[in-house]
């Protein structure tokens, strides 16, 4: 890694960037226009959020707070836990632990910085991780392996049984940095009593590990508060999901990213409730005014991202959807699988409910919720077993009236690349066109955005969709 990059604490650098960006809209219109001239490399992403108005600005605030929490953790006597986007932060906040999610931080860096996360990704390889390991972790992880970020105190991973490359990156981090490690391990089935019981036992063991590491007992009153907040968040998310089903939808393509990024960082936290309220209110107003979410004012096509979105610089992917008039009905990351969502009716046993009556009920709630976060719900076990990836995508395609399904991931995703071709064939049999993107969602060097865009255009043209 270049010495110049090592000069800056990564968390401070990103936190400061986001914090400055969040202050941007405080100026007058003229001041903002002038200020953009001073940030040519950041303008693309900042403008996207500023133009969204209150939800966009608040979203930048929240992300800045996420970094600030990491930066302040040790001074406040809190431990920092490196964890995955597949793991709910609810339990960490209830135990006064600051979660640090590699994938979220990689996505932020990849979108914000013109040079992407390349230096950090490559650093992981310099110290021995294979270049074929998933870029979602390799990005931010590189900074921590290079000791350029805050010191991680423990590693909690919940992808064994779901994603080897993800789990492997966390194991590598724990061993390389010599930190305590816990794994939540997922069986190949979901919804049956045996796997439900396994989720709870595994989660109980994790709490034991966290209690041992922090020297504090889980505060169930605090957990109850977080779960009440989560109740409110799930209800608002359900409203947003309802609006996402409308044709045209009043939800802009970028909203789905904000919904899931907020959940990964702040589920159960009042700040996330506020973000969802802002998103819902703005969407409701658009709906009442009969205005589609797309800036062009016309919805030409509706896509379902069956895996993840594309996160490289300036949010090019979301801008592309806007330019082409394509509504984004979400990805594997968007859905929360709360039991009252319409799609849950079609996926029996795959969803969770919230019960805060007793400590045991709360524990069951969080364990089952955690087991339904992205990847750990959808891509465990055979993709064509009842309620799994194929069923889920077909159910969503019907409910959200999509015209096509697009797969996007990273070359590191051995799990989905091991099944996406048969999956695509099964989906196509149902009359839904599928496009498999060959890029890396976090690394433009694998395929340039320009090439990715051309391939998307080619797909839409050849299949007669646009």
């Amino acid at each position: 890694m270049r010495a110049a990059i090592k000069e800056y604490n990564y968390d401070w650098l990103m936190g400061s960037t986001l914090s400055a960006a969040a202050k941007f809209p405080a100026g007058t219109e003229k001041e903002i226009a002038w200020a953009y001239r001073y940030i040519p490399y950041f303008k693309g992403i900042v403008k996207n959020f500023v133009d969204l108005g209150p939800p966009g600005i608040y979203f930048m605030d929240l992300l800045a707070e996420y970094y600030q929490n990491i930066l302040d953790a040790h001074a406040q006597g809190k431990k920092i836990a490196a964890t995955t986007f597949c793991s709910t932060p609810v339990i960490f906040y209830a135990m006064d632990i600051v979660p640090l999610t590699f994938e979220v931080l990689t996505a932020i860096g990849a979108m914000v910085w013109r040079r992407g996360m390349f230096d950090y990704m490559d650093y992981c390889c310099e110290v021995g991780m294979p270049e074929t390991a998933c870029s979602a972790q390799r990005g931010a992880l590189g900074a921590y392996l290079a000791e350029m970020g805050e010191d991680i105190d423990l590693v909690v991973c919940d992808t064994p049984g779901v994603c080897d490359t993800n789990a492997n990156a966390f194991v590598f981090a724990a061993e390389y940095l010599d930190k305590p490690f816990y794994q939540l391990n997922y069986p190949s089935t979901i919804g049956d009593s045996r796997s439900q019981a396994y989720h709870v036992k595994d989660f109980q063991a994790m709490i034991g590990f966290l209690e041992e590491q922090t020297g504090k007992k889980l505060d169930y009153d605090r957990l109850a508060e977080s779960l009440k907040e989560l109740e409110a968040q799930d209800a608002i998310t359900a409203d947003l999901e309802d609006m996402l089903m409308l044709v045209p939808t009043p939800i802009p393509p970028i909203y789905t990213l904000m919904i899931y990024a907020g959940r990964f960082c702040f589920a159960g936290h009042p700040g996330y409730t506020r973000l969802l309220e802002l998103l819902r209110d703005q969407a409701k107003k658009r709906m009442a005014d009969g205005i589609p979410g797309l800036k062009a004012g016309m919805e030409k096509l509706r896509v379902l991202m069956c895996y993840i979105d594309h996160y490289t610089v300036d949010m090019n992917f979301y801008n592309y959807l806007e330019e082409r008039g394509i509504a984004n009905t979400g990805s594997i990351l968007t859905r929360n699988f709360r039991d009252y969502n319409p799609y849950c009716q079609a996926l029996e046993g795959s969803c969770y409910g919230v019960d805060i009556a007793t400590p045991e009920a709360m524990l069951e709630t969080v364990a089952q919720m955690n087991a339904r976060l992205p990847m750990v719900r959808s891509i465990r076990g055979p993709y064509d077993q009842h309620g799994m990836w194929l069923d889920e995508c077909l159910a969503l395609a019907r409910l959200y009236h999509v015209d096509c399904i697009i797969y996007n991931g990273t070359p590191g995703c051995r799990n989905t690349w091991g099944m996406v071709k048969p999956f695509a064939r099964d989906v196509e049999k149902q009359g839904i066109p599928v496009h498999i993107m060959n890029d890396d969602a976090f690394d433009d060097r694998v395929e340039s955005w320009e090439a990715t865009r051309e391939r998307l255009d080619e797909f839409f043209t050849v299949r007669g969709l646009l």
């Binding site: 021995g128 294979p130 064994p160 080897d164 492997n168 061993e175 794994q183 690349w417």
Partner: protein
């Protein structure tokens, strides 16, 4: 020994054909965490599926994506070509993401290639942890597997039969252990190539026949005088391989001998004998999950490192060759951690990335191995001169 090499180098081999000639069933399995004793107890020949003798990748590439290890692709290729049509059943496990997707890819290929899916096609869910509920899950998985075998093949697998099977398998384990002791001792007369062929053969041959062959081999080894002591002593570790040629590449025409290995098809998978006294299912679970040395068992890196370090010391290893198949991140990352720890202790290491298959990058590998052996040679010279 010739029989071991014949079995190790061909999917269809004489012992397998002899077994089938008597209309006895054969079940293929994909991972060292499947307890072979269960099949033995049912009168079924368990056969570890191998990707050797692949002559193309068109079928493997058609169903799997591009960023997948070539080992499961070779298995799928062979399945699609009908190379495993003789098996009466297949058990697939989530050894890694690519291997567990063999379940779907094989089933989907079966829609296009007639007759490649045996009637008994079973997914065996192995957890990634052996503690508490992980072990309970695995015990249940073994019980379910037994029930399915009993139902499908109309057999009864009693505790007594399981104990008998465990005893027979343990006999082989003890013999291998004795041979391994000769191999790893100074003046050992066992080549890595022969030892690896023998352990691969153990995943295919009927156990009684295998044990008899091991006994003969051990007897002949005991009668041999010690070998010259000057060869460089190599340990080979990393991704799955069932290709004896990888050992040959290190040993043929060089002054090196692979005196130890830590490989999925190697002697490590035999491990210590299974407990013969207690509950047989619990004992099998403890052996196949509790003692697993695979990096898929997350959080056990330090234990695995300790095992390596012990072996390195016991076998007086001069250098460790660490290989991983491209896209095998589990071994790729673990090799890096091993290299960091072992080099810090002054143990020379070579990391190699390769493709699985009929040694397609033999020249490149040979060049790097030879360079590594030169390094070891200079090290010896330096040690002697100081």
């Amino acid at each position: 020994m010739q029989l071991f090499h014949d079995v190790a180098n061909h999917i269809e081999c004489q012992p397998l054909n002899d077994w089938r000639a008597k209309n006895r069933p054969v079940v293929g399995y994909t991972c060292s965490q499947v307890p072979a004793e269960i099949f033995y107890a049912a009168g079924i020949l368990p056969m570890r599926l191998r990707g050797i003798e692949t002559d193309g990748m068109d079928i493997g590439d058609a169903y799997y994506g591009p960023f997948i290890c070539s080992f499961p692709k070779c298995l799928l290729q062979l399945a699609g070509k009908g190379a495993f049509k003789f098996v009466d059943g297949v058990v697939i496990t989530p050894g890694c993401d690519a291997m567990r997707r063999l379940d779907e890819c094989w089933r989907k290929a079966g829609e296009d290639y007639q007759g490649i899916i045996p009637d008994f096609f079973y997914y065996f869910d192995v957890p990634h942890k052996a503690e508490g509920h992980g072990m309970e899950w695995f015990v249940e998985e073994i019980e379910y597997l037994i029930a399915e075998i009993e139902d499908h093949f109309s057999v009864e697998i009693t505790d007594a039969k399981l104990r008998e099977a465990i005893a027979e398998y343990n006999k082989g384990r003890r013999l291998l252990d004795e041979i391994e002791a000769i191999r790893s001792a100074e003046g050992g007369t066992v080549s890595g190539t022969d030892m690896f062929a023998a352990t691969i053969a153990g995943t295919v041959m009927p156990r009684a026949l295998y044990n008899a062959q091991l006994e003969q081999w051990l007897k002949s080894l005991k009668e041999q005088p010690p070998a010259e002591n000057a060869r460089k002593r190599i340990m080979l570790i990393g991704s799955i391989t069932d290709d004896v040629d990888l050992f040959r590449l290190i040993e043929f025409g060089t002054d090196a001998v692979v005196v130890s290995e830590n490989l999925c098809f190697g002697v490590r998978s035999e491990g210590r004998p299974v407990d013969e006294a207690g509950n047989p299912i619990g004992a099998l679970a403890e052996h196949y999950l509790g003692e697993s040395a695979c990096p898929r068992m997350y959080g056990r890196h330090k234990q695995r490192l300790a095992v390596l370090q012990e072996k390195i010391e016991q076998s007086k290893i001069d250098g460790v060759i660490m290989q991983n198949i491209r896209f095998c991140d589990l071994h790729g990352a673990e090799n890096a951690l091993f290299e960091k720890a072992l080099e810090a202790q002054g143990i020379p290491c070579l990391r190699l990335e390769r493709e699985y298959g009929p040694m397609i990058d033999k020249g490149r590998l040979k060049l790097r191995i030879n360079a590594f052996l030169e390094r070891l040679g200079r090290r010896r010279q330096y040690a002697r001169s100081n």
